[in-house]
Amino acid sequence: MRETWLIGSNVFRQLLRNRILVVLFLFALSVVGVAIFLGDLGQEAEVRLSRDFGLLSIEGVGFFTVLLCNVVLLFEETELKTISILFVKPIRRWHYMAGKVLGSTMLLLMNETAMVGLLWILARWRGLEGVIDLSFVIAAFYLFLSGVLFSIVAVFFTIYASTVPACAVYASFTYGLGHFTTNLLEWVMRMDQPLLAKLVKVLYYLIPNFSLFSLKDNLVAIQLLLVGSKADYYAMGGDTTILTGPGSSAPYIWPLFYLLFYGSALLLISLWQYERKEY
């Protein structure tokens, strides 16, 4: 664990000083500003729009953060061969792999926290109440977890892809599919095509599912969960009754276990290849 932390913090330090990622950080902050001002176009629905676009921008920046981190790191490893010095040090290769994931996760957390903070400041400045509440923070946290899963996927592709552009393409494609398969499965199940349904089902299980972490469409459900009862929720001014009950925590617990199991499985397969790879 000590070695993983050392490598992770070193990766974080490297990434933090890399100009591409500084530009990304500034981009992230400007995107948050755009989200707030887009909300203005929605007039009375300003708070809702600010929340939705805020979460969408957090998700988008998270995607680019993870992708760039791993592409930048992979470039240095393959082109500049910095990895050969590290692999003769007294560390295991899994330390290095876990350290990469940890380093990019730390950068992701920093970016997303900064975005939530700036969104809060801008909302207050514009006099918008209710943009950042606990439900928003929870939704943002699950987007962060989705970013952690994507980091693991990106590390997997850095090992199996032979070039940097290939790695970026595979990772991006998987990210897109991971948001698509749940909805695709719903559509296909309604069609009378059993073979197609089976194929889509296999893809559904195989491809990392990011929809499970995408709670941004369910902010009201999270609010209701936090409040605990319908009566209290209406008393607070909640204007919808989409749930039959106060809300269970199951939709929020299962994604955590999914991340643990799927992430570990993918890391194990990555480790197998990492151990066999020669430099």
Binding site: P255, Y262, L268
Partner: protein, 240 residues
């Protein structure tokens, strides 16, 4: 001793056994992940908007970008963007010549994308009915919205207000549509008062008397009780 994962091609059996264990372990973890995915998707479907939305027919005029966004976990944001575009459309006076003909399609798209964007639906309906005087489309939009989210009481209030204030609507059909809602014990009293007013103004006298009598029995709010008494007095020709 060689580390277990680094199996030499020359045939290190213990390393190969470790490789097999690793793959079996990965397989087991994938299985557990699949189980969690099923359970999590089901739990989320219970609270998600997707089932309600998916049961609707896709609007014919929906933009391809909105359709793609809806398939990619961006329904709420796509609905917001469509809402901004709808507002821009109705805010542009140049569209008045065409009687803002795209308004229904725009708000129908928003409803499909996010059935719980209540504010947009109420606004769209108001624009169609009281702005564009397009009762047919306003009523269709509201009925679709009520089918998708039967629990949002304000839809019914707007629907009742439509029936009360507009000329040329099929009030009998609209009252029929509202019957199941007003029979519920927790139906909002504001809605019950509105329906009563429709009966009083446009309905038959017997029906109106029956309605207000029933309402008097179940009313809890003072405003409702007073209104029921005054309406009954008027209909029966008595002083309240």
């Amino acid at each position: 001793m060689d580390p277990p994962f680094f199996s030499s091609p020359s045939g290190n059996m213990s390393a190969k056994n470790t490789d097999i264990k690793l793959w079996l372990g990965a397989g087991l973890l994938f299985g557990l992940a699949a189980f969690c995915l099923e359970a999590g998707s089901k739990a989320q479907a219970d609270i998600s908007r997707l089932p309600a939305a998916m049961s609707q027919t896709v609007p014919p005029a929906i933009r391809s970008t909105s359709l793609m966004a809806s398939m990619s976990d961006m329904r709420a944001a796509a609905a917001d963007w469509s809402y901004i575009e709808a507002l821009q459309y109705v805010g542009d006076v140049r569209n008045a010549k065409a009687h803002y003909k795209n308004t229904y399609d725009d708000y129908r798209e928003i409803l499909w994308l996010d059935p719980y964007f209540h504010f947009a639906v109420l606004e769209g309906c108001s624009i169609l009915v009281w702005g564009n005087h397009n009762l047919v489309q306003g009523r269709e939009l509201m009925e679709d919205a009520m089918r998708v989210d039967p629990k949002f009481s304000r839809y019914r209030l707007y629907y009742a207000a439509m029936a009360y204030t507009q000329k040329g609507v099929d009030r009998a059909a609209m009252l029929n549509f509202l019957q199941s809602e007003i029979q519920k014990p927790d139906a909002p009293e504001m809605l019950l008062r509105e329906v009563g007013n429709i009966y009083s103004k446009y309905g038959k006298r017997d029906e109106a008397i029956r309605y207000w009598t029933q309402l008097l029995d179940r009313a809890r709010e003072e405003q409702t009780v007073n209104l029921a008494k005054s309406q009954l007095a008027k209909l029966l020709g008595k002083t309240p």
